[in-house]
Symmetry: C2
Subunit: 114 residues, 2 copies
Amino acid sequence: MLEKTEHMIMLKDFYGPLLTSKQQDLMSLYYEDDWSLSEIAENRGTSRQAVYDVLKRAETALQEYEERLGLVDKFAITRRGLEEVYALLKQQGCLGQNEIEKARKILRNIMESV
Amino acid sequence: MLEKTEHMIMLKDFYGPLLTSKQQDLMSLYYEDDWSLSEIAENRGTSRQAVYDVLKRAETALQEYEERLGLVDKFAITRRGLEEVYALLKQQGCLGQNEIEKARKILRNIMESV
């Protein structure tokens, strides 16, 4: 469940502006602020079922954007690569040829994949 | 004109899969293969005006996606940063603390912006 929440927040970070403002509003309350369906329904003056339907449609839309564009996946690869290079550059003292070559290889991979 | 073409190809690289297959087809012929409107019309058995209309709608859609998501812009920033770090790591011999710190700063900036 937690993993699904994190994934949905990532999807919303990328594609959220393509959702309707109502979908964005309810997604924020549910996934980012961790409100329950009933709490959202009460606060927004609607039914629990209506909230559920809006969220379900929003989730499906976000998943379809990711299936087509794959940008969240791409971003995760870039992120991992950047962290690896950053870690290589962490040491004190001068950086030897081996590490430099390793860092350059990771950077090339990122540039080819983005 | 050339600049517009490059920009459109970038937009299509990111958001192309959100267009209809017809829009994608005509965009490829016009922007990537450099066919004229008349050539496309003749080859696809339609009118020059119809081709123009499809392209216009596709361009507008791509621009709207970029206005909402801004991923092409974001990508350009990342790309520039990666190239800077790559250039810093180009030298032969060991890499000194100054360059390492410069590279780490650029990487931090990228990671904060993506």
